[in-house]
Amino acid sequence: MKTQLRMLVIGILIVSVITGIGGLTISSAYPQRMTLYAALDEPTLEALISKFEEDTGISVDLWRGGAGEVAARIRAEAAAPKGDVFIGGSVDVHGDLALEGLLAKTAPENAKLIPEPYKDPEGYWYGWYLGVLGLVLNTELFEKEMEGIPRPVSWDELLRPEWKGKVSTSGPHTSGGAYIFLVTQIFRFEKYAPFFGIPKGKAREAGEEAAFAWFKAFKENVKVFTIKATEPIVLTAMGETIVGMSWAHDILVYVEKGYPVELIVPPDTGFEIGGASVIAGGPNPEAAKMFLNFVLSKEAQEINATVGAKRYPVTPGVVSPPGAPSFESFSLVPYDREWAIANKARLLDKWDQVIGG
């Protein structure tokens, strides 16, 4: 009995020591760590992270969320930041955080690869990919349940009463894409305002009025306003809704997987510049700068364009997403990014009052 007990105690001690040493070895094999907050898809993240770890030996700890969730987390941790770098999400989201003093000013070497319009002149954030808004249509269900209704090739098609309860989209408070969608409609109506005799000076105001009226009608058809931008795609692919609004590059992932869905990019669509920034006061600033520099590199942009959700690079010469339409083929609204960033709080308030979704 006593020897058994002794063996047991020794056994437990040995295992404790092994796991303890194992833990120490693993953490010392990677002398540096870095915490990444990301709003990108799994395969892209896995590929980027393993490339970075391979190249630098720095171990990356990941927290993934929707862009809105990541921003909320960064704000919540403001007193004691735990994240080092934020990648993914539109630069609007990064711009917001910069205004609140939550991002660090950086000057990475690869910043020279990023064309002027795509980076913050102050150096708080950098754009490193482009994406356009589109619709995901469940072709199977569309054929079965929407006979006689034309394919939704334009935004206005979604206002048809027959779409009631069959549409999904995300909410602008939590989803960067949804907010861009909101201002895209404003800019779209502003673009066509002259056709209705509205003078240039009043075009934006009129555009805003028209956009909110559009959303009021749109809301009637929406089954659910999701939290994340990508959720409508899952809902549509699974058949919970027939059409959803989300990022084209995320939609294409589901098309490739073989789900019965198709991508439609309506004219006068919005686009995002995907952002990357270093969080102010993070625990590993040196490693953070290295990661930021890596993300802006041609290599990282190529990974982003070819693995997982295929996003368009910003640096000329980097390969374009294989199999996807070229970025130039999209009809984009004239997008006033500064105005969009400056008016965000006001527009979100207005959304709550007028739409309340």
Partner: protein, 543 residues
Amino acid sequence: MGEQIRSKLDLLAIFVIILLALVLLIFVILPVIKVFIYPSIKEYIVILTRPRSLRAMQNSLFITVMSTLTATLMGFIYAYAMNYTSMPGKRFLKSVILLPLLSPPFIVALAWILLFGGQGLITRQLLGWRRSIFGWHGLWVVQSIAFFPYAYLIINGILEGIDANLEYAAKNAGANGFYVFRTVTFPLALPGLLNAAILIAIYVLADFGNPIVIAGGWPVIPTEIFGRISGHYDLAGAAGLSAVLLLPAFGLFLLSRMILKGKSFITVTGRGAAQERPLVTSPTKWVFFSFCLFIVILIVSVYGTLVAGAFVKTWGINWSPSLEHLQVLWGVRGKSLYNSLFYSFFAGLGAAVFAVLAAYFIYGKAFWGKQVLDFISLLPAAIPGIFLGVGFLLAFNAPPIVLGGTATIVILGLMVWNIPLGYQACTAGLEQIGSEIEEAAINLGANPLRVFKDTILPLLKTPFLAGFIMGFLRSITNLSIVIFLIAPGKTVATVAILDLIQYAELGSAVTLAVALFGMALAVVGIAQILLGRGLRELMGFGG
């Protein structure tokens, strides 16, 4: 019950008791208090009158009643079959029923999605339906399957402990099978049965993993608590709801204490090796057999579906075999498996060590405040995992004790949650050690340390191991406590699996789930080889 008063308090005892008391006060009482005092009265009113909160409370009550009834019933039938029939394959049946203990309860929900979801094997492929079966119906089925093995374990122990002589006496006096059951077996089993039901009720009430995966928009309290924190950073609201969650759980806990009138709550004494009993007649036997077979098919289907899901390209869409999902094991998410192993090992070890010390120094001695410490040692059994998670989050993220984002807080949370199990096992073990052994050692001149180390400890080896292994298993499969305590790099497999499910990366999710199951199975297997002791025997010590 006969608490045996051991030797008077010596220096060693005083030291250990103070240490244990500190651990209990800081890591059990403090978090509980923090949760209750965190929201202001106004914040309490706000969160408790929200329509969604009210719906969640209603739904929680409803599903707790439903799932508890079915899980307890299923457990009872299965246990009765094991003890009162001569059906074939009992050893196999007794082993299969334990498999669900090696996985997080929510993998049943995951398998459910694969079978009955929008792209489900059964809904879409076989029946051609478009709709998925989410909502409360799915949750009810899933929870019944996930929790009834726990009911079985307890009820089986109860039934084993019933004196077969009474049943034989009744039979010999002329009663038929059903009469014996109705007048002898059932009344004797009833207190234990109620206890099993109460335990299951606490599990269902506190269940977070299954509803978050499958209940769609049907809110229950644990998912609401999570939503408040992860969606809105509303700690006050989360604390308020957690307080509401604790009250019924605590009430159930007190109820079970009353029912057992101080006897072991979860523990079964383990001395009830199978007695010979009057068995059911042949036709009834085969009815029971079909039921058990059906259960086995259910359990095997769950795991079979998961394994299949790991090796199929895109479930429901592209059935071609593929090894691509294995990549998740070597990527960022796969790192969590190591953390799961590491944290659970130390959590289980810590809980078992605490349990042994507490059993001897608190339960086994008499001193002022002993009843209180004894009660607090059992208290975590009443605390829903998610409440404990919120409590730790509130108590240890600010000075004086800052543990937020470390591995320590995860290990401590899991350890504390597992103390009651080991404590129950060790106190039951202690009951069986006569005080004569201790007195003899003292008379022979042994100092207190020697008495504890050389006489008590060896005799508590089995309950210690039981506490360790059960603590390990419960820790490695836990989701509700860890979900608020993990941080990037310190995350565990259950959280990674949940993340992957929420991103609809089902192939990766099931791969990770199967790997986790394999890991738990391997550890249990190694323990079985090293210790030469059947898992089932050890399980007899714990719920």
